[in-house]
Symmetry: none
Subunit: 300 residues, 2 copies
C-alpha cells in the first residue's frame, strides 16, 4: 500500500458518510434494483456485459441471507425479462457463510439452480483470507452436484493461489482472476506490487493453458498488456475469456480494451449497504481518494 493510500485509509473514518456516498455514486448504480437494471442496459448498449452485485457483506441472521438471495432472484428475473446481457456476483458471507456453512451452501445452491433455469450464471466473489478455503470448498460441492453455471474468484496477491489453481484445473473451472484488495498479513499475501503483478501474469498463463475460462479482472494497464500478449500468442478465441472492470473505474481503459475486440464485463453494485464497498474502493484508488480530499476542502 502506498504512503498516500495509507494516509487515506487512516483519514477515512473522519470523512463524513454523506461525502463518501457522494463520491461513491460514480461506482454504485444506486439504491434499488431499478438502478441496477438501468445501468446494465446502458452498459449493454455501450457493448459491455455486466454482473450485478447486491451490496451487503457479513450478516447476523439467516433471514438476511434469504432476503439477499431473494434480491438476487429478482435481479435474475429482470435480466431475463429485459433480455439483458448480465449475470450476478454473490458474496458467501452475505449468504451466511460465517453463520452456518451448510445453510450457506444450501442457499447458494438454490440460487445457482434458479440462475440455471434462466440460463444465467453466478459468480461467487472472494472475500478476505478467512473465507478462502470455505469458498473454494463450497464451489467444489456445487460442481460435484452437477452445477456448472457457477464460477469463483482467485486473488493473485495470495501466496496459496498458485496451489489453488493447480487443484482446480481438473474441473475446467470458470475463474475470475483479480489482484485482491483486502488487507492481509504478509504471511498470507504478497505485499510488493511488482510481485503481485508477476503472480497475476503467471497465474493467468497457467489458467489459460490449463483450459479454464478466465475473467481477467484488472484496471492495471500493465496486466491488460500481459493478458493481451498471452491471448494473442495462443490465438485464443474471444469466447474463452473476458475482461472485467468495476463500474466507474478506468472508463477510458475499458473502452480501449473493447475497441481491441475483447469482451468486457462491468461489475455493477447496487443496494443500501454501500459503505463497506465504498471504503474498500476508496482505499485502493488514490485517484478516487483525491476526489474525496478535494470535496472535503471545498466544503470549508
Amino acid at each position: 500500500m502506498s504512503l498516500f493510500n495509507r494516509l487515506v485509509a487512516t483519514a477515512l473514518p473522519a470523512v463524513p458518510k454523506g461525502l463518501v456516498r457522494k463520491v461513491s455514486s460514480r461506482y454504485i448504480a444506486g439504491d434499488g434494483i431499478e438502478d441496477a437494471v438501468r445501468v446494465v442496459a446502458e452498459l449493454n448498449r455501450s457493448g459491455a456485459m455486466a454482473t450485478v452485485d447486491v451490496l451487503g457483506e457479513d450478516i447476523e441472521r439467516k433471514e438476511e441471507a434469504i432476503a439477499t438471495a431473494d434480491a438476487y432472484r429478482a435481479v435474475l428475473k429482470e435480466i431475463e425479462a429485459r433480455k439483458l446481457d448480465g449475470n450476478v456476483s454473490v458474496k458467501l458471507t452475505a449468504l451466511g457463510l460465517k453463520l452456518d456453512k451448510d445453510f450457506c451452501l444450501e442457499t447458494v445452491e438454490k440460487l445457482v439452480r434458479d440462475a440455471a433455469a434462466r440460463k444465467s450464471f453466478v459468480r461467487i466473489d472472494m472475500e478476505d483470507s478467512s473465507c478462502t478455503s470455505d469458498t473454494i470448498e463450497t464451489y467444489r460441492k456445487l460442481r460435484a452436484r452437477g452445477l456448472d453455471n457457477v464460477g469463483i474468484v482467485l486473488q493473485a496477491y495470495l501466496r496459496r493461489t498458485a496451489a489453488d489453481v493447480e487443484s482446480l484445473l481438473d474441473l475446467s473451472p470458470n475463474i475470475r482472476l483479480c489482484k485482491g484488495i483486502y488487507v492481509e498479513p504478509r504471511r498470507v499475501a504478497f505485499k510488493d506490487g511488482a510481485i503481485v503483478n508477476r503472480s497475476y501474469a503467471t497465474l493467468l498463463e497457467r489458467l489459460l493453458d490449463g483450459g479454464a475460462y478466465v475473467g481477467i479482472a484488472t484496471h492495471d494497464e500493465k496486466l491488460v498488456f500481459e493478458a493481451e500478449r498471452l491471448v494473442r500468442a495462443r490465438k485464443l478465441d474471444r469466447a474463452r475469456y473476458e475482461f472485467q472492470m468495476l463500474l466507474g473505474v478506468e472508463r477510458e481503459l475499458r473502452d480501449i480494451v473493447m475497441a481491441s475486440g475483447h469482451r468486457m464485463r462491468v461489475y455493477v453494485p447496487y443496494g443500501k449497504s454501500w459503505y463497506a464497498y465504498s471504503v474498500r474502493r476508496l482505499k485502493e484508488n488514490p485517484a478516487i481518494a483525491g476526489h474525496v480530499v478535494r470535496a472535503m476542502l471545498a466544503r470549508k
Copy 2:
C-alpha cells in the same frame, strides 16, 4: 512523459533558436552533404555503420519532395564513390505523403531503385500515427513491385503494432523497431514506460522468431539487455540483426554494444531543417535538455 520532460517541452519555445542549434550540433552532422559524408567516414573508422537522414519533414510543394529525393541520390552516390558503409533513411512526408500518396510512392520507388543500382538500402522512417497505415501500405507496394532493398520502422508504443507485426511477417520484412517518440493519445499508444518496454521486448522476440531482419533501435540499456538475451538464446548470427542509435546519444552504450560483438548503425541527420528534429530529441532526452538549461544559465 515525466514532469521534467513536460517542463522542458513547455519551456522550449522560449529557448533561443541559436541555443537549440548549438546544443543540437552534437547530434546533427551539419548543414551540408560534406558534413554527413565526413561523419559517416568517422563512424566507419570506429567500427559502426551509418544511415543518413536528409532533414526535412512536412512539405508544401512537390518540387520540395523531388529536391529531397535528389539530395538522397547525391548521398547514395557519395557513399558508393567513397566505399562507405552506410545507407539512407527517408521520411515519406518529406517525399509528399500528405500531398499525394501516388506521387510519394512513385518518388520513393525511384529512390529505392536507384539505391538498388548502387547496392544500397532505403529505410522508410515512421512518423506520427496519422502516417502509420499509409507508410505500411507504401512499403507493401514497394515489396509487391519486387523491391527488397527497403525496410520500414515499427513503434513499440503503438497499440496496433503487435497486429502490424503479424501482418508483415509473411514478407520476411526488414524492420527497425523503436519505442516511438511522437506525442500520441492514450487510445493509440501506451503511455506507461514499463508497458512500452514490455511491448518492445515482446515485439522483438516475435520479429526474430518470425524471421524478420531487425534493426534494434534503442538507447535504453534495459532493452539492449533484453535484445542480447533474445539473440543469445537463439544463437542468432550477427548478420540477422543490427543495433541502431542516434548520432550524439549514449555514445558510451554504443561502444559497449559494439564491444560485445554486435553490429551497430548510427543515424546521421544533416541539412538545414534541423529545428523540428532537434526539438523532438530535446523533448525525449532530459540529459540533453539539461545541457540546454545549463547553457542558458551560462549566458547570463
